[in-house]
């Protein structure tokens, strides 16, 4: 299996994540698109780890998962707080931060 296939798969997943972050207005869906991008990067790192037979990349993927878990905890707390203030998860409502 050439490494190019894995590069193109990760690229496709990453670009779908970017499209999702640009297309949607729901803050939670944007968040999920960011998770998709993180997973695309993880997959590519694992493929390179297998190619070079080096386990450091898999440790790196592990740390990316750690950071993603912490990020989701704080980010969802922010979204819940925003919903409590403005009763919506529409990011267009948040364009004026002073209100």
């Amino acid at each position: 299996m050439p490494i190019q296939y894995y590069i193109f798969l990760s690229l496709a997943l990453f670009c779908i994540g970017i499209m999702g972050a640009l297309m949607r207005r729901n803050a939670i869906i944007i968040f999920m698109s960011i998770e998709l991008m993180l997973n695309a990067v993880n997959l590519l790192l694992t493929a390179f780890s297998k190619m070079y037979n080096d386990s450091a990349a898999q440790i790196f993927v592990f740390f990316i998962m750690v950071v993603a878990a912490a990020e989701v905890a704080v980010g969802l707390a922010v979204i819940v707080m925003m919903y409590r203030k403005v009763h919506s998860v529409d990011v267009n409502i948040l364009n004026r931060l002073k209100h």
Binding site: M1, I3, Y5, A12, I29, M32, N42, S49
Partner: protein, 167 residues
């Protein structure tokens, strides 16, 4: 075409199709279900790459913990397809065009690169928990300890942010 290639294409089609489902579906709950399926497909890819530990961690952490958190928040807010805010079709078209352009530019850049690597078929054991644990606790012990501080601060931060204002 042997069984590994067949599994590769099956999991690839599943991952990309479910990722498109995340972006395109109207209902946020459906998006979460599609994202869980995408994570399972990516875990299958990890298994094909002999990264057994990462496959299990991906299922437990992502599909188990993080997605349940998402689903819980969505059900807490009672979001469904009727309350879903929609961007105008012009903005959506701009999003698709910019994402697709990035995809094309990166493919054109990588297609001619001299990446001669091939994922070798013989199984390696670097992805097993024993070997990864040895590396983690010998070479990467400082980042590992720092990540515990990160988790503690994330936990405290989530509680402080989510706390109701009492004044």
């Amino acid at each position: 075409m042997d069984i590994l290639q067949l599994l590769f294409w099956l999991l690839t089609i599943m991952a990309i199709g479910c990722a498109l489902g995340v972006v395109l579906s109207r209902n946020p709950v459906t998006s979460v279900i599609f994202l869980i399926l995408t994570f399972f497909a990516i875990s299958g890819h990890y298994l094909l790459l002999n990264a057994q530990f990462l496959a299990i961690v991906n299922i437990i952490v992502y599909a188990g913990a993080i997605m349940v958190l998402f689903l819980f928040v969505i059900m807490l807010m009672n979001l469904n397809a009727d309350t879903e805010p929609q961007k105008s079709w012009l903005v959506q078209l701009a999003g698709v065009i910019s994402g697709g352009t990035l995809f094309l530019v990166l493919i054109a850049a990588i297609r001619n690169a001299h990446l001669l690597g091939v994922i070798n078929k013989e199984s390696s054991d670097i992805g097993l928990i024993k070997n990864l644990g040895t590396v983690l606790f010998k070479q990467f012990v400082l980042p590992f300890e720092i990540s515990s501080v990160l988790f503690l601060s994330a936990m405290i931060g989530a509680i402080v942010i989510g706390k109701k204002d009492t004044e």
